[in-house]
């Protein structure tokens, strides 16, 4: 059997809020193979963001283990964790660019942090901007870009650290369907050419359908079902998966009608 590249075991996380505790994750286990495009789908509040933030320890789980490339992240010291994080790229629904800096500077930024010399980082940034189709926008400021273009900049920026893993938390949720499609195509081509293992978090079945090879269905902090996308789409077993498929079908009908 192939060994997992990302593996979480029995993750639990409880938030204490004013009106009682929220069990965001209840003993979640998953394994993602190298080069997978692994989807995690669930309705809002299912625990998806909590799960993905445990993968680079932005959130510390209450219990459980997180292995990346065989390394137990929870045993790393602060500095080792920081260096490991540089190789785990993450993109968000809101692009979090530096608004006062132009596109080129935004892409150079992670390399500047790593101490890459100016000429080298500019060269690399231009190369990355070309890859995401924005080489003509190098001098523009984020406020002059569309949502899709901003997400492309965020993708170029994250690639500047040469990650081996890319985590996407609702990366296309702020975008319209056509733009979503082009961003997903871009992610797919990055996966194919650079061999990056991806975890795609979404609440939309079409996103999973578009690029994922495997999918886990998350509901109320537990994995309801996990396996190949075709299997779960054709023979959903869990209530949660059936419900998500129903939502997709209703939306498709609405689009047609």
């Amino acid at each position: 059997m192939e060994t997992a590249y990302i593996e979480v075991r029995n993750l639990t996380k409880t938030y204490s809020a004013k009106n009682g505790n929220v069990e965001a994750l209840k003993s979640v286990s998953l394994s993602v193979l190298k080069n997978d495009i692994f989807g995690v789908i669930g309705l809002s509040g299912a625990g998806k963001s909590t799960l993905v933030r445990c993968l680079n320890l932005l959130e510390r789980p209450d219990s459980g283990e997180v292995f990346i490339g065989g390394q137990n992240l929870l045993t790393l010291g602060r500095e080792q964790l920081r260096l490991r994080r540089q190789k785990i790229g993450m993109i968000f629904q809101h692009f979090n660019l530096l608004e006062q800096q132009n596109v080129l500077a935004n892409v150079c930024f992670p390399m500047e942090i790593r101490g890459v010399p100016v000429r080298q980082r500019k060269e690399k940034a231009m190369e990355l901007l070309k890859k995401v189709g924005l080489e003509d926008k190098a001098g523009a400021y984020p406020s002059q870009l569309s949502g899709g273009q901003k997400q492309r900049v965020a993708i170029a920026r994250v690639l500047a650290n040469e990650p081996d893993i890319l985590l996407c938390d609702e990366a296309t949720s702020a975008l319209d369907p056509e733009t979503t499609k082009t961003i997903l195509d871009l992610l797919k081509s990055i996966h194919d050419t650079m061999g990056i293992t991806m975890v795609i978090i979404t609440h939309e079945m079409r996103v999973i359908q578009e690029i994922c090879t495997k999918v886990a269905v998350l509901d109320q902090g537990t994995v309801q079902e996990c396996g190949s996308v075709t299997k779960i789409f054709n023979h959903p077993k869990s209530k949660a998966a059936k419900r998500l498929l129903l939502i997709r079908d209703t939306e498709e009908m609405a689009d047609v009608g």
Binding site: L58, I88, L98, I113, R157
Partner: protein, 224 residues
């Protein structure tokens, strides 16, 4: 023709005295503003702490500052300290203490507001990029905080400069005071002097506050 009495300003050293008074006012403002900004930055950071004791302390402090008129504070510090502790505090020091006490509280509240308005996701994406803590504050959090802070603090600074004229109440020879002295001295020869002299005082304040508030407006527009 109506004599507005502007001419009394140019008698002897009157105009120089007025400018001298203005300089004292500006000096009080500048020193207080500087102390307020530094103290406010530290306090603003402490105000975001979850510590309950700190929270209650700063909440009370801010309430006191907002409820008490600055004039009352001035009287308490200037006359009160002499009474109670027997200190011979100069009026200028008393003014600096009161304005700094006030400014630091207001500035602290602005800093607190700016800090908590930075969404958590900003910290997270900085950490996800593998930044060290100092890098995160220096490159991501601080620039955004300062950007929100500058127009607000300029507004506070303008208010502080304007309020300095209150100092007249405890007898600092400061703009309004000088103005009043000039008016009194010329009451007989130039009965309308009050109008002209106060017009000039108004103009002087305007000349100081206007560029500051224009700058505030400009920065606000540029950074919003």
């Amino acid at each position: 023709m109506l004599n507005l009495g502007i001419d009394v300003l140019f008698k002897g050293t009157n105009f120089l005295r007025l400018l001298g008074g203005l300089w004292i006012a500006v000096r009080i403002s500048l020193i207080s503003v500087m102390i307020s900004i530094i103290a406010g930055l530290v306090m603003g950071m402490l105000m975001t702490s979850p510590n309950v004791v700190l929270k209650i302390f700063f909440r009370t402090y801010l309430e006191i500052v907002r409820i008490m008129p600055q004039m009352v504070l001035l009287f308490i510090v200037y006359f009160g300290t002499t009474r109670v502790f027997g200190w011979d505090l100069s009026a200028e020091y008393a003014a600096v203490i009161v304005f700094s006490f006030w400014g630091a509280a207001e500035m602290g509240d602005l800093v607190r507001g700016a800090l908590i308005s930075i969404p958590g996701i900003q910290y997270e994406s900085a950490q996800a990029l593998g930044m060290t803590r100092p890098q995160m504050y220096l490159y991501v959090i601080l620039p955004q905080t300062v950007r929100r802070l500058i127009p607000l603090s300029i507004n506070l600074i303008t208010r502080m400069i304007k309020t300095t004229s209150l100092v007249m109440m405890i007898g600092i020879v400061e703009v309004l005071k000088v103005a009043q002295q000039i008016i009194e001295a010329n009451r007989r020869t130039s009965p309308n002097a009050a109008f002209g002299v106060f017009a000039v005082v108004f103009l002087l304040y305007f000349l100081i506050c206007w560029p500051v508030s224009r700058l505030a407006g400009y920065l606000e527009k540029r950074w919003s």
